[in-house]
Symmetry: C2
Subunit: 180 residues, 2 copies
């Protein structure tokens, strides 16, 4: 199987990283706990007046590189590769690509080694990438064509209510969900 | 049509950029004129003992960003988009991704504007990307799957002898070759 794996969410702790930086930079503002998040875009869970501040967190140089790795992700990736599946990291850069793009590569190298950086696919349209499975926390993934992959939702508070029958995966249940 | 367009070769003057920097950095060494190039990888056209020096040119920070734009490329890209085709830039980063990755985005922004940076697809395996046409100067493009696209060769001295019946395109004949 060709397994496409999203980076922020399944591998990198984007949510926790955001919240930690948010509290440090804007300690007097409201902060939404990860478990209270209901929308995919963080700024949609914050008051409209805070949108620029929210965005400024993940536009900051070093933000992507500083993210922690999700518990169990390193072991799961190694295991999927041992099982001889073809694993690629399929990730969408921010439109403000300046720091995000190179930091995403550096981050993969830091936690998974240089070999896996050769399997990064950077695209804003994931429907154009061929695969059997896409593991992604984003609830709705749209693009130019009908995807070849089945979208398996990586478990997140903002996608549970909108799973619409899609499987929800974690690094605890992945073998069962993917049936591998 | 979904048209995938390689970056180095069809858009960026990689060959000229290499040669200019090579002559400046290693003025006493042999230099292979662009028209004399016979292999896709530049180091294959140089003596084995010079391989590290050859590679050091395109590993230098600023190299990718400094490349000139190919004559006619800006107008052709604009025209393809006016004709309502879906154009994406489909480019493989160096394994030494450090400067290359972010400079490829900056370069596209510099010559084509920020909107086109949203249509960059970075991947070492282009067979995984869906499209009708891939315009690429690389003679043999292999990967995990059988591509959905037709490979049209962007004219280069090192691919003419190995075109194997594939169409050869330039920014002078593209409308005729693509029949659009």
């Amino acid at each position: 199987m060709i397994i496409l794996l999203d980076q922020d969410g399944p591998l990198a702790e984007f949510e926790e990283g955001f919240l930690k930086n948010w509290r440090t930079r804007f300690p007097k503002e409201v902060a939404v706990e990860v478990e209270q998040r209901t929308q995919f875009e963080i700024y949609s869970d914050y008051p409209e007046r805070l949108r620029d501040q929210v965005v400024s967190i993940y536009h900051t140089p070093g933000f992507f590189l500083s993210l922690k790795v999700v518990d169990g992700a390193v072991e799961a990736v190694r295991k999927i590769q041992e099982l001889r599946h073809e694993l690629f990291i399929c990730t969408s850069p921010l439109s403000a690509f300046e720091h995000c793009v190179s930091e995403k590569y550096l981050w993969v190298e830091k936690y998974f080694g240089r070999d896996l950086t050769r399997r990064i696919i950077l695209t804003k349209d994931k429907t154009l990438v061929r695969g059997d499975i896409l593991i992604d926390d984003k609830p709705e993934i749209t693009g130019l064509v009908i995807p070849s992959w089945e979208h398996v939702l990586f478990n997140a508070p903002y996608n549970r209510a909108v799973s619409n029958g899609r499987k929800i995966i974690t690094w605890n249940n992945w073998r069962e969900i993917l049936k591998i």
